[in-house]
Every structure is written in structure tokens, then in C-alpha cells.
Symmetry: C2
Subunit: 302 residues, 2 copies
């Protein structure tokens, strides 16, 4: 088996584990509120990379966290928050998307009102689910509280919701500054990657300095991932990407590439990636799966 | 001063205190995410009875909770959750209301996309805010976690969101059963009254049996309040109520009165109210403000 397929099979195993954990924590669709629960589960089970729960667990393992069950509720919570953001993003009042990953979006199936409620239900249930970790935190309830604080901060107005707000407003303008574009990338995407890595470390009892390193690693992965997205829109293979090339330019969208040029964009991806790799090497074994995952995420061609 | 105006001035004082607490915990509208924060604050500062934070604090006081600052973050969180539910309820995809309390609704001012996001931001920020209580919980972090669990459960699919789902579905039907109508009243309205009273007690360190009593009191207040609403739609004074009489019947809406008749409805309000009063008397002084508040809430004519 080549190094690459060995990595891919490792990744596949971890994604499958994350999916088992997510399913375990989904609420049963029953009672007078059956429909909203069905809509929530439909949204979460629509698939996806399960990147955030996988990262959370890798970080938990890197710092030798136990027991397994302590990280699980947060893995599920992370995916619920990510999913609710997509459900609300797809609403007619937002991006008005009928399809996502080849499947009808939640509002296309359940209506916009029920989809709004399903998103609310998911966000709320994420906190309910994360709190279930308290049964496995033993004497370390302080770690649970610290993890909940990071979960809240990075998902809200000082994280994902804040980035989403800036993104909505950016769509109306063509004179976006570098600072504003970076704010969007850092908050809309990177914040939840940061919190996944930080929460895994916090629950495992990592030192504050190491939690900060995980935040930096998450920041770099998230921002590099977004810049790579902008690069691929210019240089990518339409077939591999599954979407038309040059759509950003056609839509007059300010991207990292329109602001900085292709060369500088590639350099920045490389620099962010290298720093993330270096920080990860400082923290664990040389051949940690997390290291390969970072490289894979940033160097992707689709 | 008559007993009634004495009560009203006491209530006014408590509402003002609740508003100070709420304002203290609202986020500053600044940064690239300024608009969503402005929309959140606009929504929360639109006024209202501040019933949930007032009840939370009364319960905290009844069980001699200290310090004051321990209850405050939860008072603010409760109002944020109540407000987000109104903001999303008013959306074009839900009730499509342009005005609430004589003021433009959030989506009428900021657009449906930003209002959706402001609701999300408020729900998320409610948990962030409640977590700030950990700084004042000292060695009682277990109380904080127990309070967060109740906050989550009563706001989500096994509480308010669940009731909201059943209510949306009920609007399409004219054959609502008693069980279904009661489910809506118990979850859409009563759940958050229950959690306010329960959280006050939990944070103060009340015994589990007393927390259960507070839940029952909250249940009775919430359900009686809703039945009274249905009664007033038939018997009320249009001028005092500020809305047309008989609108439920005209809209073919199933209400407690259409299901059980006026006489039985009045009897049930009285029974629920009496039980709530009796339970409250068991818990504290005979002349507790909470006792008068319960009577006032249930016997209202508008």
C-alpha cells in the first residue's frame, strides 16, 4: 500500500468512527416534535467530511485524553453546529440553495420555517449534547466548562456567526479590504477548526500553552484551506473540482487571489501550512496522523 | 398605597433591575460583525415584560442564593433565548410579522438573512453568557452545569423548539387533540417559565425536591397563562387587550376554550393557579412577592 492510500484508509476509519459517534448522539424522531427532529437528523446525515469531529478526536488523542466518551459528545456537538450553519446558510433568505452535495437541502424538503427551526434545534442540541460529557469528566468538570466556553465563543459572534455576518455584507460590495477578507476566512471557516483542536486538547487536560498552539494550528489550517479554495477557482481542474472554474472572477468577488495575486497566495498557503506542521511536530510524534491530515487538507486539488 | 399599586411598584423595580442586568451583558456593537450585534441588541432592547429574568431572580432569592452575580448571567441568557425565539418567529418564513410591540421587527429593519443570523447569534450568546456565571460559582461548579443542562433542555426540542414545531404543524390542521394542544402550551410557553424558576433554585443550591416544585409551579403558570389567553380571546375587552376579540374562532383555531368550553377552561386556570400558589406557600414566606406575581400573571385581563 502506498503512503497515500495508507493515509486515506486511516482517514476513512476515523471518518467512520466520527459518523458512529454523531449517530449515537442524534435525538430519536418521535413525539409531537417529530418533524423538527426528522429535519435535524436529515441535515446531519446528509454526509460531509466530518472534519471537525475528526480533528477534535485527533487532538484529544495527541494529548492522551481519556476516557473516549469524554470527547464523543463534543465531537457530535461540533458537527451539529457546523450542520446548523449550513442549514441556515441554504435558506431562501440567505443563499437560497436547493441542493447541497447532490441532495435536497433541508428547507427544500421541510420548508423554510421548519428548516429555520431545525437549525435552531441543532444549535441548541449541540450545547445539550456537549453537556453530556459531564458524566465522563469525573473530577475535571473545570475542563468541561473551559471546553464549553471555547465551543460557544468560536461558534458565535466572535467566531463563525461573526464571519457569516461579515460575509453577507461583503457580498454587497466590491471594495473589500485585505483585513476584511481575512476576518471572514478567520471567523467563518477557521474558528470552528480552531475550536475543534482546542477542545480536544482542553478535555485531555493539555497545558494552556499547548491549547494556544492548537488554536494557531487550527487558524492556519482554516485560513490556508480558504486561500486554496480561491486558488483552485483560478487554476483548478473543473472536472475534479465539480464546479466551474473562474466563477469568483465572473461574479466580481473579492478573493485572496484578486487581492494578492496567484504567486503570493501560493506562498501564503505554503507558509501557513509549514507553520502548522512545525507546531504539530513540536507537540507529538513525527508521524502523527494529524500531521498528514494537515498536509492533505491544505495541498488538496479539489 | 393600595396593595395593588404596592405590588406594581415592586414589580416595576424588579423589571428595571432585570433590564440593567440584560444591558450589562449585551455585546458591544463593534468590529466587522457590527451589524449582527446591532440587530441582536435591537431585538433584545425592543422591550417586553422581562418575565423570565424576573422569575429567575425571585427563585434565586427565595432559596437565599448568593452572590447576586451568579444569577445575573442566567437572567440575561434567559431573555436572549426568549428574544431569539421571537426574532425567528417573526421571520417571513414563519409568521411574517412586520411589527411587534409597535416597533418594526428585526427582519423588517435588518432583512431576513441578518435577522436569521441575529437569532442564531442570540441563542449562541445566551450559552456564552450563562457560562460567565462560572466566575461566581466558586466551589459550586456542579450547580452551574446543572443549570446549563436545564437551560438547554427547556429551550430545545424537548422544550420551546419542540412546542414551536408542534405549533407550526397545528396551524395546518383543525382537528387538534387535547393532548396536542396541551403539548404546545407546555412546551412553547411553559418550558421557559419552568427553567427560569428551576435555574434560580439550582444556582441557589436548593434541594432536588424543591427544584421539582419550582418546575411544577412554572408549568402551572405557563399553562394557565396560555389558557387565560384563549379565554380572553372570547370574553376580553378589545380595548384593554389591544387586539380584536374572537380572532381565534374566526381563524378556525383550536383553543382550550373550543376544546373544553369556557366554564371548564376557567376552572382549570383556577386549579392550576391554586396549586402553584399552594406550592409556593410551602416553599417560602406567606407574603413572598413571587406569590403575588403568580396571582397577577394568571388573573390578568389583558
Amino acid at each position: 500500500m502506498s503512503a497515500n492510500t495508507e493515509f486515506e484508509s486511516q482517514l476513512q476509519k476515523r471518518v467512520e468512527y466520527a459518523e458512529q459517534v454523531i449517530e449515537k448522539y442524534l435525538p430519536a424522531a418521535e413525539g409531537n416534535q417529530k418533524t423538527v427532529i426528522e429535519a435535524m437528523n436529515y441535515s446531519v446525515l446528509a454526509g460531509g467530511k466530518r472534519l471537525r469531529p475528526v480533528l477534535l478526536r485527533e487532538s484529544f488523542e495527541l494529548f492522551h485524553g481519556t476516557p473516549e466518551e469524554l470527547a464523543q459528545p463534543f465531537m457530535a456537538a461540533m458537527e451539529m453546529i457546523h450542520t446548523y450553519s449550513l442549514v441556515h446558510d441554504d435558506l431562501p433568505a440567505m443563499d437560497n440553495d436547493e441542493y447541497r452535495r447532490g441532495r435536497k437541502t433541508t428547507h427544500a424538503v421541510y420548508g423554510a420555517g421548519m428548516a429555520t427551526l431545525a437549525g435552531d434545534g441543532l444549535l441548541n442540541y449541540a450545547f445539550e449534547t456537549a453537556l453530556k460529557a459531564s458524566a465522563f469528566a469525573g473530577e475535571h468538570q473545570d475542563r468541561l466548562i473551559a471546553a464549553l466556553k471555547v465551543l460557544g465563543e468560536k461558534a458565535g459572534i466572535y467566531g463563525m456567526v461573526g464571519g457569516q455576518c461579515a460575509d453577507i455584507e461583503a457580498e454587497k460590495r466590491s471594495d473589500l479590504t485585505q483585513e476584511e477578507l481575512l476576518f471572514i476566512h478567520e471567523n467563518k471557516t477557521a474558528a470552528m477548526i480552531e475550536s475543534s483542536l482546542m477542545i480536544g486538547a482542553i478535555l485531555a487536560g493539555a497545558a494552556e500553552a499547548d491549547v494556544q498552539k492548537m488554536q494557531r494550528i487550527g487558524h492556519n489550517i482554516g485560513v490556508a484551506f480558504q486561500i486554496q479554495d480561491d486558488i483552485l477557482d483560478v487554476t483548478g481542474n473543473q472536472e475534479e473540482l465539480g464546479k466551474p472554474i473562474g466563477s469568483d472572477e465572473k461574479n466580481g468577488k473579492t478573493t485572496y487571489v484578486t487581492l494578492f495575486g496567484l504567486e503570493k497566495s501560493k506562498q501564503d498557503v505554503a507558509a501557513l501550512s509549514e507553520e502548522a506542521v512545525r507546531l504539530t511536530q513540536q507537540l507529538g510524534e513525527e508521524d502523527a496522523f494529524l500531521l498528514q491530515l494537515i498536509r492533505w487538507l491544505i495541498s488538496r486539488e479539489k
